[in-house]
Symmetry: C2
Amino acid sequence: MTHANYDLIIHNGTAVTVNEHFDIIEQALIGVQKGVIATVATRQAGTALPDAATVIDAGGGFIMPGLVNTHTHLPMTLFRGLADDLPLDVWLNEHIFPVESQFITAENVMWGTQLACLEMLLSGTTTCCGGYFHEDSVAAAVAQAGLRGVLAQGVIDFPAPGVPDPALNVTHAGTYVDQWLGREVTITPAVFCHSPYTCSSDTLKAAKAAARERDVLFQIHVAETEAERNASLQEHGVTPVKYLDDLGILDEHTLVVHAVWTDTEDIDIMRSRRVTISHNAESNMKLAAGIAPVPDFIAAGITVGLGTDGCASNNDLDLFSEMDSVAKIHKAVTRDPTTLDAARVLKMATRDGARAIGLGDMTGSLERGKQADLIVVDAASPHLVPLYAPHSHIVYAMRGADVNTVVVGGKILVKDRQPVTLDQERIIGRVAEIAGQIMKGRPK
Amino acid sequence: MTHANYDLIIHNGTAVTVNEHFDIIEQALIGVQKGVIATVATRQAGTALPDAATVIDAGGGFIMPGLVNTHTHLPMTLFRGLADDLPLDVWLNEHIFPVESQFITAENVMWGTQLACLEMLLSGTTTCCGGYFHEDSVAAAVAQAGLRGVLAQGVIDFPAPGVPDPALNVTHAGTYVDQWLGREVTITPAVFCHSPYTCSSDTLKAAKAAARERDVLFQIHVAETEAERNASLQEHGVTPVKYLDDLGILDEHTLVVHAVWTDTEDIDIMRSRRVTISHNAESNMKLAAGIAPVPDFIAAGITVGLGTDGCASNNDLDLFSEMDSVAKIHKAVTRDPTTLDAARVLKMATRDGARAIGLGDMTGSLERGKQADLIVVDAASPHLVPLYAPHSHIVYAMRGADVNTVVVGGKILVKDRQPVTLDQERIIGRVAEIAGQIMKGRPK
């Protein structure tokens, strides 16, 4: 270990690296220079700490990579719990779409995104990926909060918030990407087509072309429900995955979201096209979509990350509880308790999630050369005692509320459980006002 | 509202009563006299608070009944995360049974139970029901902590901790019950036969007779796995439920735990015998047992409560996350998003749970005449904003970590998130020592 000068060091904790070997380092010392991890080492007993501008004492807790949420719709925090336990069509058509058309303004999007950033940071998420409308406001809010984001402008063949004329939806997305490419190191713009059933084949092809031209991620909801699959079979004669493949949409820069209703042939297509998948277990359960065949995706060698989906369908952005759900549900489905073990699920929520959204070289593990996107989690609470196996503890027992410190790109965003970059009281107050308007204005 | 003198009042919050009408009372005022709820009312604006020895300001949060955990094995906190993601036989025979035989002493049981009580209280559970060995130590620890418990001495036809001679297992359970009947108002003793496959028919009948004589609850794991069901069909020619019914075990004082592998006929038997069921969704998922047909139980009119199971199989005692899992998993299984709505699941975790374990008249809702078993949950954190629907919020967004105050029988057990009756530092330190011995002494 070189005793260089660091901008930041983190010590006095157990590092759960989620590197290739899943190394766990007791009495770890993490050194950060210019936002990048320069050292991941064991601190030898009795040695002095290296010089550093800032020192974080992990207090005996876990030091681990920040979590990566590969699919969400950030501003939908505004609709958290607005309508639950309803059939999908009633939920969408009678609740979500009407309030979206009325209340999704650029300003409200900003407040909803700030609330999402608060929630993500306080529960240990350092990178998020998602899409919505008025994405320029989303990106500005995420950049201000300091999280890393792959943020996509939504494309749909209906009049949408900020894009009243659907004929301009792809142009609008391209313009958004151009505005954000290279603007902030933490923000990667992207394009998000809502789905194969809400976008025409022309729109799908044009949107993918716009993403390809700019070398950015293309995200799309695919095969979320059985009804979608059946409609595709009826209308196109093929499954949603095959339909998109026939259109030339699927490649290694396409993130397929959900993929619940996919068969062996679909999986083979996705594998051969090297798409990545965002698995949203809790959302899929709550909306009664079903359970995606994730063990089959992994067996096929497809990179799978985890997503919470938006707060209108989950109803939270907590990846700790998502990890717990993912590890458990697939054991029940496969009737095999060895399915998706804790280390595998943790990898999905970190390193594989980063790979799935195109940031695999940048984040997702505690490794020299990666961005310093890490969290410190307290491990001394009653529900975390005793400690036998760190990976198991993180997946099955830790909660978002155990997160103490959050660092993105070497910058401290949460300290002693308090947000550094966001004005919590103001955001909560403003969102409560917006929610009051929604309650008054929503369809009865 | 009478302006009587109260021992305790709780005000400045929204009361989620979980009474028959699921009433929600804003600006609620709860008055407690001699440990019993005397008043549940709206505080009229501008009126003074009634006189009370103690006043709890709920700070604008939720005031709700404490949660009821209908099945756990409290001392197994000692084994939290010891062995996960393993086949059931490997997990039991190579990990759990060996450490139990070596480390389950009366003293370790006490420390493990104290840790469980800490965890339960801090995550809003006020009543627990379960069984283990050295249950006298369990009951003493729960009584000292102040939680309400239905606590059963385990009966199994093997040598067990504290009961080296299985021929004495029922006698031992009877003696335990006799010692604890009427001793503490918060402790209700009970008898727990491990399962139909680990107890002979004679043991099952004798244990049920011992419970009947003393008018206490009889608990038993039933139909947890497909293998158990198949073995019962092979050995007895009938399902586990039918087998127990033929032995005369099933009645309204029998709590059937798990009931995963039950068919229509089993459900009809359980309904007609008026047994109650403890549903342990997260444990059943993690151990790959399967998903119990809970909507069918409810449709048949059977009372179903929720349980976390022990910490070796879940790995926590958090009923908030259990509610979230239960509400979601059955939607996925039934492919119907209206299945087990939030109010229903909350009822299972409170009022129905209390009924399931024989305490329905005493606890499980905020109603005049019931014991003052209640919790105050902070509702102003980012993940709980905005608020449209309290029941949905509790099930889908709240976490155990949001619990601020816990009251059992009018006695404050948690205040400002800190335990009042338990020495957290000492318990955690001692359990860490025991875990160190387990790590050294466990089979390699």
